[in-house]
């Protein structure tokens, strides 16, 4: 699975047009990251022809900063605005990637976004899934965009 180029392309488009921030992509991670501290993860699932999920993992400070930029207003803490804004960013990323994931004509549907936030949590990879995690840097700091797709049997 090589969706890295597409993830970088759609992430740059979304963050630069909707959030109005410059974003720089790094090198995809060699090892999967599943444990997060003082962070927020927003996920959207894929169902149908392909199953998996798209996720954004951001430290609290970065999630607040991105939400401030997205909404154009001050955000003091992780609240409903941050959860909704990060969920919407995951939704837009998943929606923009959907045509590439459903290539060969298979129908793929998106789930509603879900958000996890906490001092320490672990997210495990879907069983037998291919994955890619791409780091991005914005003025507020670094965050990850991940894509996991279940291997076709």
């Amino acid at each position: 699975m090589d969706f890295t180029e597409k993830i970088v392309e759609v992430a740059k488009e979304i963050f630069e047009t909707m959030v109005m921030v410059d974003v720089t992509a790094g090198t995809p991670l060699d090892e999967h990251v599943s444990r997060f501290e003082c962070s927020l993860s927003a996920m959207v699932g894929f169902a149908g022809f392909k199953q998996g999920n798209l996720s954004i993992h951001a430290p609290d400070k970065v999630a607040r900063g991105l939400t401030q930029d997205f909404l154009g207003m001050e955000v003091e803490e992780i609240n409903e605005d941050v959860e909704d804004a990060m969920g919407e960013l995951a939704n837009m990323l998943a929606g923009s990637l959907k045509p590439f994931i459903s290539e060969n004509g298979g129908k793929v549907e998106l789930s509603l976004p879900s958000v996890v936030h906490g001092e320490e949590y672990t997210l495990t990879v879907v069983n037998k899934a291919d994955w890619v995690l791409v780091p991005f840097t914005v003025a507020h700091g670094d965050f990850l965009v991940g894509l996991e797709l279940k291997k076709q049997s």
Partner: protein
């Protein structure tokens, strides 16, 4: 009298994001009305007549499709233009259904200020 817009979305955050996108597109409204679903919007339209409506499609209670049907049946509000706001990769069927029910246009996130202007500008 200044222009007014009604933004319909079940997420208060999304209403803020849409409002910000309008300002970035240079579309300044004197009055920004908000509703959390289609039914709230219908109730609000009994007393307020905005120049344009921006509506989400998937909402609890009364969704964007039912809102368009209800609005079309009310002579006092049927001519107010509605632009659907959806996400790239969302249900194309519902977008097509919205257009066939009288929606004036559709903007798909992610959108640029120019794209917002292109769809909303001619309707104002």
């Amino acid at each position: 009298m200044g222009k007014a817009v009604l933004i319909i979305d079940d997420s208060t955050t999304m209403r803020k994001i849409v409002n910000r996108s309008l300002r970035q597109a240079g579309l300044e409204f004197d009055t920004v009305l908000e509703a959390g679903d289609g039914q709230e919007a219908i109730d609000l339209l009994a007393s307020q007549k905005p120049d344009i409506i921006l509506s989400d499609i998937n909402m609890p209670n009364m969704d964007g499709i039912e809102f368009l049907k209800t609005k079309a049946a009310d002579a006092s509000i049927k001519d107010i233009p509605v632009v659907m706001v959806t996400t790239e990769g969302g249900s194309e069927d519902m977008v097509e259904q919205s257009m066939s029910l009288g929606a004036s246009g559709c903007v798909k996130k992610p959108f640029t200020p120019d794209q917002v202007n292109e769809v909303l500008g001619p309707l104002l």
